[in-house]
């Protein structure tokens, strides 16, 4: 870079042009950033292409019937993933409702002066440690502790309120309820941590403004803090939902891998990810192609969820913060 302002001769020696090394650092850093961004995109593209290539024969053979089909029968060459799509969305939505609600509640509890901030830090660390537990451990915990714990309650609900679609079957073992519960626990740290950050980002003066208007604590939280943090909370929910959609191991262990569509919380079901995990090891040539197709469907769902989440988030940012 040349200095075009040599003419400014009354400038003190303290203010001067950046040195060549500083320009070089700038360029190197920019180079690294661009390369990383490109690599991420290239890797995603490569995975998509590879999965798509292997799925191509299945896509050609089954077309859209794959998505609306309800049978998965290798011997007859019938492949359909509608029950898995249903199971994926149903379990993830249940988990999102539960984990999201508790995650946000925990974030409010940790950030809105209910407890001393040091205690809040400890709580937060504990919750984040939940995220470090391997999913197979969650699966085992679900099988040996959660399912036996749920059984009596599920039985009672089915006996008393069996006419209600959510309780229309009995919990024989693995099923939607334990799977969704474990999923909820698994996404809770994500939702809680990101929501905590969203609350922390609210400037102190906003809190002052709220209390200055004469709000009670709950009014301040519900009418000011939550709307102010809404775009961050939405980001937390989208991330949590994404995590629930893709979760594999714990679900493969807990959901029962049954190819059926049911509203009942206690009937076994299946998800796309768990179908992949449990079928892949012994899959033949034809089935692998079908599984690749299923993986593409899962990718498409995740992509759609993210795009929709982004849209809702942009909308709330525009509405509440007025930025574009």
């Amino acid at each position: 870079m040349t200095n075009m302002f040599e003419a400014a001769d009354s400038v003190s020696p303290i203010s001067g042009p950046p040195r060549a090394l500083e320009y070089a650092n700038d360029r190197i850093f920019r180079g690294i950033a661009w390369t990383s961004a490109f690599l991420v995109i290239a890797l995603t593209g490569f995975i998509l292409w590879e999965v798509g290539r292997q799925a191509a024969p299945a896509i050609q053979a089954y077309g859209l019937g794959f998505i609306t089909g309800t049978e998965w029968n290798v011997n007859q060459g019938e492949f359909g993933v509608l029950p898995e799509i249903w199971g994926t969305l149903y379990s993830s939505l249940l988990a999102l409702a539960l984990g999201g609600l508790f995650g946000i509640a925990i974030a409010i509890f940790l950030t809105q002066d209910f407890i001393h901030h040091r205690l809040a830090m400890i709580f937060r660390t504990v919750i984040e440690m939940l995220a470090a537990i391997p999913s197979v451990v969650f699966g085992l915990w679900g099988i040996y502790i959660l399912i036996p714990l749920l059984k009596p309650g599920a039985e009672w609900l089915h006996d008393q309120l069996g006419w209600f679609p959510l309780f229309s079957t009995d919990l024989a073992g693995p099923g939607m309820a334990p799977a969704a519960l474990v999923l909820a626990i698994m996404i809770l740290p994500t939702v809680a941590a990101i929501t905590v950050d969203a609350f922390h980002r609210i400037p102190y003066k906003i809190k002052e403004a709220a209390y200055g208007m004469g709000t009670t604590r709950w009014e301040a939280i519900l009418k000011v803090m939550v709307p102010t943090a809404s775009s961050g909370i939405l980001a937390a929910l989208v991330l949590g939902f994404g995590r629930a959609l893709g979760e594999t191991m714990a679900l493969a262990m807990l959901i029962g891998n049954a190819n059926q569509i049911s509203l009942s919380l206690f009937s076994p079901a299946n998800t796309l990810a768990s179908l992949l995990a449990s079928t892949f090891p012994e899959a033949g040539h034809l089935e692998v192609q079908a599984l690749m197709y299923a993986a593409l469907v899962l990718l498409a769902i995740t992509f759609l969820v993210n795009v929709m989440g982004q849209m809702v988030q942009q909308y709330t940012i525009r509405k509440f913060e007025g930025k574009r």
């Binding site: 400037p203 003066k205 906003i206 809190k207 002052e208 403004a209 709220a210 209390y211 200055g212 208007m213 004469g214 709000t215 009670t216 009014e219 009418k223 000011v224 709307p227 102010t228 525009r318 509405k319 509440f320 913060e321 007025g322 930025k323």
Partner: protein
């Protein structure tokens, strides 16, 4: 002990002529161990504007915010003394600070609109108080009084944060006056405003004092002479190594500016500093 007592200056209490709405008797205000303000009696008279002036850091905001217990939000804040509002100490145990703040409203030093639409910002206090009348009319009136209506009447649905800094401050004024509180505390409300908007806000203050009581912190001497009926001058005591603010002198604005009793006051208003 005796020597200290001798050097500790305490202003002569100001004998208000009219009815006093808030009798603020500060003994000591602490932030943690730090003694921020000591021995200051500031009566706020009904339907008058009480101005607070003094150098930066002398505790004007601290005293003003003590009047409606805003400082309760700061965990290390400690207030010794009392603030009698209509004969009741707002620092008494049984008093709910939320109620105090509904009656004693506040405009802050920095604009702090909520991240919601302009309309919702102004309607916030009305909704909070479950106002049943014509909301639109109240919002419009508040925005007009805050000299903001013309600029925002076509963008009431836009976010309050999309306004300029000065507009945001007037939005906060509109928000505070929409509910027409008994007393309005204003902490340098015009520091982000241009001269025209400043004038408009000053006119608003003069209009408001017909029915309500105002307390105003300002760094602008002209503003104090233009609007304040009584003026309280604070200063900082750095003699003992601390930075403790205290009331130097309080009286009718004319007297403070034309015929101050204390040399500190005279030096400050004439712009001479030791």
């Amino acid at each position: 002990m005796n020597a200290a007592a001798e050097t500790m200056f305490v202003a002569a209490p100001y004998q208000a002529a009219g009815k006093v709405v808030i009798e603020c008797n500060v003994a000591k205000i602490f932030y943690g161990d730090f003694l921020a303000v000591r021995d200051s009696q500031v009566p706020i008279e009904k339907r008058k504007i009480t101005g607070f002036i003094g150098p930066s850091g002398c505790g004007k905001s601290t005293v003003l915010r003590s009047l409606n217990r805003m400082n309760d939000l700061i965990s290390i804040f400690r207030f010794e003394g009392n603030v009698m509002y209509h004969g009741q100490d707002v620092y008494a145990k049984k008093v709910d600070p939320v109620l105090v703040r509904r009656y004693i409203g506040m405009v802050f030093q920095q604009p702090n609109p909520f991240s919601m639409s302009v309309y919702d910002n102004v309607a916030f206090g009305l909704r909070l108080n479950r106002y049943k009348g014509d909301m639109d009319e109240r919002v419009e009136k508040a925005l007009k009084r805050a000299a903001l209506w013309k600029e925002v009447k076509d963008k009431l649905k836009n976010s309050g944060l999309s306004l300029s800094g000065g507009q945001q401050q007037r939005l906060c004024i509109a928000r505070a006056i929409a509910t027409e509180p008994d007393v309005l505390l204003m902490d340098e409300p015009c520091s982000a405003l241009d001269p025209i908007a400043t004038r408009q806000v000053e006119e608003l203050m003069l209009e408001l004092k017909e029915r309500y009581t105002l307390a105003l912190v300002t760094h602008n001497m002209q503003q104090a002479t233009r609007v304040a009926d009584t003026t309280a001058f604070f200063s900082v005591d750095i003699s003992k190594g601390g930075r403790t603010g205290y009331l130097v002198e309080m009286g009718p604005t004319e007297q403070i500016f034309q015929n101050p009793r204390e040399t500190l006051t005279k030096e400050y208003i004439s712009g001479e500093f030791s």
